[in-house]
């Protein structure tokens, strides 16, 4: 795992900041033009989101510039906060207390430590195998049988989504792709940009054109127009950014499509949980966006697939592309 701030990275960070400046200007102009209260609420939320983006990109860039350790620590904290939002929302029993303590303060740090050390074999089985077995064992030792399987499954699911799946994002820094050494950080940036752009453009196209609901039982805000427009825009931009990755333009198109589709699936799945629990957001940590998990749901689902596809094509089976 290595790191270097090359001119491509510098360029892309500048483009991101440029885009944010443009968004802030548009947000300002819109806020001067609104007439109805309904519009006012939408534009205020838009501007709150843009302000929050400045902060998120600021934190992300700083951790990025610190190097791989910075990114690992940042994502470990994101995992802790996401797991906290998840655990707070679902119900847990008094007897789950110590199992939860292990989840937060043993499994989460271990997961990121294994990735940091580059122990691929351990990192990919820690939670799906050993966490999977440990949680019901610890719950059994606690001696409470009411809702046993339910309680075990909830905790297992939270660790998988909030810790294991999110950890695949900084794990991209450990890939060590031949011919792309010391540049892995751009791959993480690429994934985050494509997936977040997909979210943002789904929101924008949905607000502009959205009519036909795609999953009315789960989320009233997700429409076919937003889905198609958002994915198409993200894939187009993802393809246009092929130069910052080891991918060919065609492969960049395929991988951004995979990431954007999984990101959408993540948003939908996490919405189903929120719907079931009767809330709109997982929290209120990020102004305008909701909780950390509301912002990370798409990364949770896209990062593992993006990681494994990249690893397959560039690390374990590089001859496939020739």
């Amino acid at each position: 795992m290595n790191f270097k701030l090359d001119h491509q990275m510098f360029l892309i960070l500048n483009v991101v900041i440029g885009g944010l400046v443009a968004a802030s200007v548009v947000g300002y102009i819109l806020s001067r033009r609104v007439k109805s209260d309904d519009q006012r609420a939408t534009i205020d939320n838009l501007n709150a989101r843009i302000r929050a983006w400045w902060i998120m990109i600021g934190i992300f860039s700083i951790s990025f510039l610190i190097g791989p350790a910075g990114s690992m620590v940042l994502f470990a904290f994101i995992s802790l906060l996401a797991l906290r939002e998840y655990i707070s929302l679902i119900s847990t029993a008094r007897a789950d207390h110590r199992t939860l303590f292990w989840s937060f303060f043993v499994f989460t740090p271990l997961q990121y430590w294994f990735w940091y050390e580059g122990w691929y074999g351990l990192a990919i089985i820690l939670i799906p195998v050993y966490g999977f077995l440990f949680i019901p064992i610890r719950l059994a030792l606690a001696g409470e049988t009411t809702g046993f399987l339910d309680r075990a499954a909830r905790i297992q699911w939270g660790l998988m989504v909030c810790v294991y799946c999110i950890s695949y994002a900084p794990a991209l820094l450990t890939l060590n792709i031949p011919g792309y050494q010391k540049q892995d950080a751009k791959l993480l940036l690429y994934l985050v940009i494509v997936v977040q752009l997909s979210d943002i453009f789904q929101y924008i196209w949905g607000k502009l054109l959205g009519k036909r609901k795609i999953a009315p039982a789960i989320s009233p805000n997700k429409t076919w127009e937003g889905f198609i427009g958002g994915i198409a825009t993200a894939v187009a931009l993802g393809t246009a950014l092929w130069w910052m990755t080891p991918f060919t333009p065609l492969l960049a198109l395929c991988l951004s499509l995979a990431a954007a589709l999984m990101g959408f699936a993540g948003g939908l799945t996490m919405s189903a949980i929120k719907r079931d629990r009767g809330v709109k957001d997982f929290g209120n940590t990020i102004e305008g966006h909701g909780g950390i998990l509301d912002r990370m749901d798409s990364i949770c689902f896209s990062a593992p697939l993006f990681f494994h596809l990249t690893r397959w094509f560039f690390v374990t089976h590089p001859t496939w592309l020739r």
Binding site: L80, R84, S88, T92, H97, L100, F101, G283
Partner: protein, 209 residues
């Protein structure tokens, strides 16, 4: 020194408990108040204190059980850092001495209130399991009958029992909620039972607010 350490402990508690605070039909005020809340965790008074505006904290004293908080590190936290008032719990005292002890406790609370201070009390007297708010002990009624000029503000604390429940040492960082309600408006002819029922209902009402 003690104010600084209280602020540090409060800051840690805020990070751990991530409290979201709501004031329902009530605003922070420098008026003398008795904040009374449901009790599920040792973190309760720290978190409640920590979410008050800074200017009010210095004049707000938690009331804690003497049998638990009067030695070692606990004492340093409760008494030295938070300037807590330590009181005897009725059920820890032999029957014959209860009346005298209760009078003594009331005197201590009145003295602690003085002309400027506010108090944080947990009228259940012991930590519950977070499912149901237990019956209130009568001390809060006697306090009101001596000091009807003080505002009695109900507070509902939720999820703190999930962070540090009774019988656990290690915390789990669950997001908590602190809800302040409108001050009680007791009638002049309130009896002990009717006052306690009113106070109890006020706390329970905030659970669903």
């Amino acid at each position: 020194m003690s104010a600084i350490s209280a602020d540090i402990i409060a800051a840690c508690a805020r990070v751990l408990a991530g409290p979201s605070v709501r004031w329902v039909n009530c605003r922070p005020s420098s008026r003398q108040r008795v904040y009374f809340a449901n009790h599920t965790s040792h973190l309760d008074f720290v978190v409640l204190w920590s979410v008050l505006p800074r200017r009010l904290r210095a004049k707000t004293r938690p009331v804690a059980a003497k049998d638990y908080w009067s030695s070692g590190l606990r004492k340093r936290i409760a008494v030295n850092a938070f300037n807590a008032v330590l009181v005897e719990r009725g059920d820890k005292i032999a029957n014959g001495d209860r009346l005298a002890a209760a009078r003594h406790t009331l005197d201590m609370l009145l003295e602690a209130l003085g002309e400027q201070n506010s108090l944080i009390v947990f009228p259940e007297g012991t930590r519950g399991n977070g499912l149901k708010v237990g019956p209130f002990k009568s001390g809060i009624y006697y306090l009101w009958s001596k000091r009807p000029d003080v505002q009695f503000v109900p507070v509902y604390l939720s999820n703190l029992n999930r962070i540090l429940p009774k019988g656990e040492i290690l915390p789990v960082p669950v997001i908590s909620h602190v809800t302040f309600g409108a001050p009680l408006r007791p009638d002049a002819n309130e009896t002990k039972d009717s006052f306690l029922a009113k106070a109890h209902d006020a706390v329970c009402a905030l659970r669903d607010a």
